[in-house]
Symmetry: D2
């Protein structure tokens, strides 16, 4: 178990440390970062306590700085590195009716240029992945030409992909709905897969666990995309209803367990795997830093449980048609309390046995509450 | 048909004329009102062109003014009147963990007091209905005590209800989810019904067409609540996925037709009916005033279609178990193009045959675009 | 924990031991009972191994016998007793367009008479509960008059309720859809609640965990109905999509845990509680008797976990708005491996530590496979 | 409009004329066919009255005969031809745990051989399409190895595809769930697309309108698959909840309109298009032959409405960001009553203006009710 846990690296999103909310209200909290440096400091704290969160994803323009080299050094000093670059083509007025899919070539070019700028940033930060989540879509039947939008999307993606360097990747995220309410231009894994298949080896799919229709069997998609060698990365979170962006594993820990089981089954934690695991969450009502710690622990613990599955016995039960035994083997792993073992994994590596408690006792929150006064708290808008 | 169309009165929400959006972005548009007076002026324009939107709902505190008497006069001068008062207990920091359900009595009292203030406003505006939509709920299992929250909710509602005057009503809206992501304190019609049943005759249920679980048969709920004499009002809008707040009838016109059929079946358009029909929508990407006009027309046209159902023949087909004929009778009404008849209804009343074109030709939008410069455009925040 | 586990009694449905399937195929298996006596023998085996399944629900007419007194004695000899009587008004051709809601009074009377016959059986079996699950509904808009059907339903239920004896109860089950595809006459808890509220104290709601719209928060309904003193019984099973009737806890064990937590919170396991827990499942592809054993164990284990919640600490965390701690307290209970403790509970009572293994080693299956040759295997049809 | 309506050919499924139902009950009706010849006679009646249903799909083994040449002649004499061959690997006991995906090579080979037998039938019937709908899947986590099943599926499909003749096609259907309740081996269009893309040009996707997750935007998938040149055929029906198999257009006529709009937009009705339109429905409670007539009419009428969309004006509105006008152009077509125009299309071709009435007046139903006495009525089992 430990060897594979050693391979577990969960990237933290810078924006999880900023304020977030619903369309109804964004609640602010003391200590919320005002700058990307403060976000990195918070993320580094999560890594210091868990040992499993070595990198921080940036969101452009929210995390734009003048000197990315300096930012990388700042991160390194704090024990983490800069990770995935996330583009944003949904907050300019120009993008009201689309970005990479827009009928107006000028707007498409602007959106393409934004991605090229992101690739330049990647070269400075040493990031491997450019993640594209498109908010493009329409709210009403007739508002857009579904087919034409796909054609323009394909063309825009091809242009961007030409600039993806040899050591870089483009990961294309899909989402069932929101902010578009009728038609989303990349609504499902099939669409993302069709696009990245046409582009080349360094184009992959990003699977956000909250971006599916109700009832979707997500672990199936994980298994399928790993089989097709097109699963690039995860955006982890959890949901009861829509894209709720709750703490990963909070809504349905058994689902997270099944997902991690398929990740392992498909080689996603094997040495050499280039599968990226990332959190993408909102801590609307709970404390942000411990919210991220809890999320990392949830992924770790469900991974540890998934690693306990007796796969030989499982195969035997499957091949004999013994449904109850096969299911029991899986459930036995899920029902085993791995928390002591994972705590031991941490203490063996000089990490606190209980990261949540260690954070509470660290005084870190009090410090930032006191220090981070004035300025504008970061949120999705900035 | 015409007599019942004459009974059709669709209240407009003041906030539909302000900006709205998703958690990702709120797009502003020229001409957006800065004040409640400007919202009323826009709403009055909708009524002037459709003849079916005689009142405007207010949202407190968004539409708070010093002199509600003056506001009522202003509305009257514009040919409309002030309608339902909508309370708001979801945008103060105090309400982060609940309002009428909060564990802290101080917060509950604040929320109760807000409703009492709304009732005072109702007395000044002559409004009949206090509408309570609660954003209360929790995001994580364990965050709140489901049972305790219900008990506190019942107590709070009872306190408010004591202040509801003899000519007034309290309507309690339910919502499946959002902004709460795990548990909403009034998630379904059953909960709303259980509460208002316990309160008294002047407490009723408000049905928002976008607030249900996927697949819910909404017309069944309409029929049931009318049967139980507890359907107080509608919040009309439409949705493909969640609470999308699209133009009513845009996503599934046949569903709107079925809803209106049950409204008629249950006496909701009969003389003396106290059922209130209201829009509650967001025009995130489309023009707001014509968006409201279109919505009023959609309700009118689907009502007109529903009125065409040959109910005698339908009953005969139902009683004989002739499924196809019964269905065909309903579909025949739905497939009939009533637009000419509804246009004639308008011209007979001195209204424009085509309100959408009349608005486009009126120059109203250009005028407000030019006049409403400076200030802060209204949105959900204000 | 042990005291409340002692209160746990999970009724088994006779039909779970017969064949079942989908509309596409029913697979038969060796050893399937041909008679109600054989079903009872199988159910008794489950109780012998788990100590928590002391009664067997009957389905009329599937389990009709000439002498219910003799059947009760047979059950007693096997260590179990006869439980809930389930009516069936969905398999006669007369019921194609409804039973208790049918427009034809003759059909309604036939359906009412069937329930009166069930009540007579209850008197002979000593059963407390008459459970009514109605398949009534329509497949197409217009096929039936929603409102009229409700009125007839209310009248039919009132007639039946008049015959419910002082020590008896009527429990009315609701179901979102299936077999009706457009409108179900009792589709949600609100409808069931509205009807049973109008009838009297001995009319209650039956909650089948598989009978809800996607995403429905079931534990909320549990809490609400217990609060309203109208939760009569559970039909336990689990589902990923629709009314899948899988083994309870198999699809989402955390949900089952949350449900049992609310059952405990609401007094459902307290001494004197009249809440009935029952399984209602299909073992389409897995072995039936161990399928039932596994189900009983799942309920027991999730109950044991729910009993571990530190409710005092939870209340403190809730009242302080400490979302993460409140959630962690709940998750800590869920993540604890209670299987050793529940095994010990069993061994202390002279039961096998591992009922699944005990069954496998018992030779029971081999015996019935050999003995039950010829005749017609029981299924939903008989 | 008429030219494209001339291209409209809707294949009827032989099994729609047999009995069908839910897992709870299959209702029989007078006049139900006992043989494939009687099914063909009924289908021919639908074509005679509508002029748009020139072929009949067969289901093997339900429609197995000794002499397919003779069957083809029989069909031709009745004015129709034999169409798609549908395989069946879900009703043999061997397939309890899978067919093309089974772990046991013997079972896989049996399932492959069944498809090869179907291809042989295709050669005798002159059918172009082999349609594969797989019921394969699992009910419980752990029951099967998701990845291994995909690999075996790919291998089995490749073997079958090798036998697909130059003028033939293989269409692979996907389905969200049912009969499998946890994991379906071909659950979504992405999976079907990934498989058929790997096979070759004559492998395509079959889209059944009832086989999606709740809320799925089906017209998007239509547009996408036409764009990818991989949409082979439709199975038309409608649903409110799951795979309800109701009359196409009955649940959401506007959705059917949008689907047909994308079919037209993507060239699916253009000369030379090889897109196949087929019904796949169950008439559980309504009369079967008029149920099929109604279905054909629904497709025709929604196609006619979709053909009315002013696509030039639509494009202009889309490009100018005029959401309301773009939507209005689409809705204007949908709201237009095309029934007179479609009736005229029929009368111009010597067909009855009102096929439903023509059927009622034909006496056909009385004739078959009288003639088809004795024997075993066809249903899904035979």
């Amino acid at each position: 178990m430990n060897a594979q846990l050693d391979n577990l690296a969960i990237e933290l999103p810078s924006w999880a440390f900023g304020n977030s909310g619903t369309r109804f209200k964004v609640f602010g909290t003391p200590g919320t970062p005002r700058t990307i440096e403060e976000k990195i400091a918070d993320a580094a704290m999560v890594h210091r306590l868990t040992g499993m969160a070595p990198s921080v994803a940036l969101h452009i323009p929210w995390d734009r700085v003048d000197d990315y080299g300096a930012l990388g050094s700042y991160a390194a000093e704090h024990g983490v590195r800069l990770g995935t670059i996330n583009s944003n083509t949904f907050q300019d007025d120009d993008y009201k009716f689309g970005s990479l899919t827009h009928t107006d070539k000028t707007v498409r070019q602007k959106a393409i240029d934004h991605h090229l700028a992101c690739i330049e940033i990647m070269e400075q930060t040493g990031s491997r992945d450019l993640k594209i989540w498109l908010a493009d879509g329409t709210n009403y039947p007739g508002q857009g030409d579904i087919r034409g939008r796909q054609d323009r999307l394909a063309e825009s993606l091809a242009t961007i992909y030409q600039h993806i360097g040899p050591g870089q990747r483009m990961v294309l995220e899909y989402k069932f709905f929101e902010p578009a309410m009728y038609m989303t231009d990349v609504p499902d894994w099939g669409t993302s897969y069709a696009h990245v298949s046409g582009l080349g080896e360094r184009a992959k799919v990003c699977l956000d666990t909250g971006h599916h229709a109700p009832g979707t069997n997500i672990e199936f998609i994980v298994a399928q995309l790993l089989r097709l060698e097109k699963l690039g990365s995860f955006d982890f979170n959890s949901r009861f209803y829509a894209d709720d962006d709750l703490i990963v594993g909070a809504a349905d820990p058994f689902q997270l367990f099944r997902i991690m089981f398929e990740v392992i089954r498909g080689g996603g934690l094997a040495p050499g795997s280039d599968l990226a695991l990332m959190l993408d969450q909102c801590h609307n009502v709970e404390a942000k830093i411990p919210g991220q710690i809890r999320s990392v622990l949830n992924v770790a613990e469900m991974t540890a449980r998934a690693l306990l599955v007796d796969t030989e016995a499982l195969t035997a039960a499957q091949e004999s048609g013994d449904v109850l035994t096969a299911n029991a083997i899986v459930m036995d792993a899920f029902y085993t309390d791995v928390r002591p073992a994972v705590a031991q994994w941490r203490t063996e590596r000089g990490l606190p046995a209980d990261p949540m408690r260690a954070f509470a006792e660290s005084g870190y929150q009090n410090t930032i509450d006191a220090e981070r006064v004035g300025g504008t708290q970061s949120s999705w808008g900035a």
